[in-house]
Symmetry: C2
Subunit: 108 residues, 2 copies
């Protein structure tokens, strides 16, 4: 399967596995998912609330203390941006791609 499609279906499958039948992640389900499905502390920190015990209010747009699929995808985007920024900075730092500098402004 093509890589982008495989990544997308994998993200949906992970959500479906951990979200209970109401198609939302409560805080226990989110905690279990993040423990098992994300290893990088840096990415975890983007999603998990300070005490790691609550649903991060930044993602819980409707404040129902659960994450629906749309809110979950906002979290995926947040983690992807974090990883992308790190990857871009590494390339800049190693001078792998000098004209890559144009990217540094992307995170505005």
């Amino acid at each position: 399967m093509a890589r982008l499609e495989q990544a997308i279906t994998s993200i949906v499958d992970v959500f479906s596995e951990y979200a209970s039948s109401d198609c939302k992640l409560n805080k226990q389900e989110l905690k279990k998912m993040m423990e098992k499905e994300v290893q990088s502390p840096e990415l975890k920190a983007k999603i998990c609330s300070g005490d790691g015990d609550n649903i991060p209010w930044k993602l819980d747009r409707n404040l129902d203390r659960e994450l629906d699929f749309k809110e979950f995808m906002n979290g995926v985007t947040t983690m992807a941006k974090c990883y992308y920024q790190k990857k871009t900075e590494i390339r800049l730092h190693r001078g792998l791609d000098p004209h890559f500098k144009a990217c540094s402004g992307f995170m505005k």
Copy 2:
């Protein structure tokens, strides 16, 4: 590597591979990516403009005729929602999870 993290890093890697040095996808790069990295016609239709030759204006928020990473991630979310909705409907249809009905309202 944990599945969610692997999917996220794969998405970033695909973007970085196809985006030229200005960290944006022009229409040729997007077209090449979608041809190779997404097989499902249904998912492709969500991202590719009608004639498949232009950057879909719905994603090109700043109308610069290119997709930066943030705009690209909006496209990934659109495809993920499409796949999620299909997967949820299949489960409903097969009665696999009768109380899954609660999900059908998610796409509001």
